[in-house]
Amino acid sequence: MAKFLALLVFLVLAACQPQGARFHGTDVTGVAWGRELQLADPEGRVRTLAEFRGKAVLLFFGFVHCPDVCPTALARAAEAKRLLGADGARLQVIFVTLDPERDSAELLREYTAAFDPEFLALRGSAEETRRAAQEFRVFYEKVPTGSSYTVNHSTTTYVFDPAGRLRLAHSHALGAEQVAADLRLLLAQRY
């Protein structure tokens, strides 16, 4: 009887465990935003999230002339992919430019390839970019600096599971090991 009670207590506790507790990122499963993305790749083909079913997706918004945050986020994604080993093939990293004015298709292609040849860059018109950012609650603003301008923007990386659902928001502070650990859980569908 005591054994049964102990088991019951354990089961109740296990059931009460919040779903996202094992993730390093913030669990955003089921939110009403971040569902659609439809932008052109550097070859001009329109790409959507639906085509990456079966893979986990890391989605990051940034710009090429970003000295600090964007290379750090993309380097983290490349390192996380490496840490996944063979499962790295089941990860798609997507970089959406918030500066389509300066980030030409060619510039984007060579930029993401410098991190990993499989990383995908997407680019829209000013209006398409605005809509994509809005869909993912991404803030961005053009700010003049000296003779040029920079783009202040949200630093969150979004994570989709292999079923194509938005699951996690990774803050810029997380390390590659933590990103890889979350991806392993999503790829193994242990959630």
Binding site: V64, H65, P67, D68, V69, P71, T72, L74, A75, R76, A78, E79, S104, E106, L107, E110, Y111, A114, F115, F139, V143, T145, G146, S147, S148, T150, N152, H153, S154, T155, T156, S171, H172, A173, L174, G175, A176, E177, Q178
Partner: protein, 154 residues
Amino acid sequence: MKRFATILVLGLAAAAAQAQVSVKDPWVRATTPKQKATGAFMRLEAGEEARLVGAASPVAGVVELHEMVQEGDVMKMRAVPAIAIPAGRGAELKPGGYHVMLMELKSQLKEGETVPITLTVESKDGRRQTLEVRAPVRALRHAPGEGAMKKHGH
């Protein structure tokens, strides 16, 4: 002879002032062929309180001192007139904090190259000196060996 000794002492004092600020581990992030801007990072150490007030480099048309500030989820970048170098503690120019922004690059910066940078530092009494730095170019995907972003040996 006495005069010579005085000159010598003055000379030594000047040398000491010159050696006030030192630069450790400078590096510049590599660029792709068409990229026109990147950041330079380093650690500055000072025996006496000083400030980094300017930077120049022959590889860039415009060089500015920038600071990254995280406000909630948004990282903001802004130009700053100077970066304080407290005595003893020094100043860290690293991703997520300060950097020397190299803009209007004249050519691609490739991994393995060296970028000359001239830093202007100002001591507490307003005297300025320049420091010549030779910063190696590291891969675009380079993540400095710190905290959670630490690289693991292959």
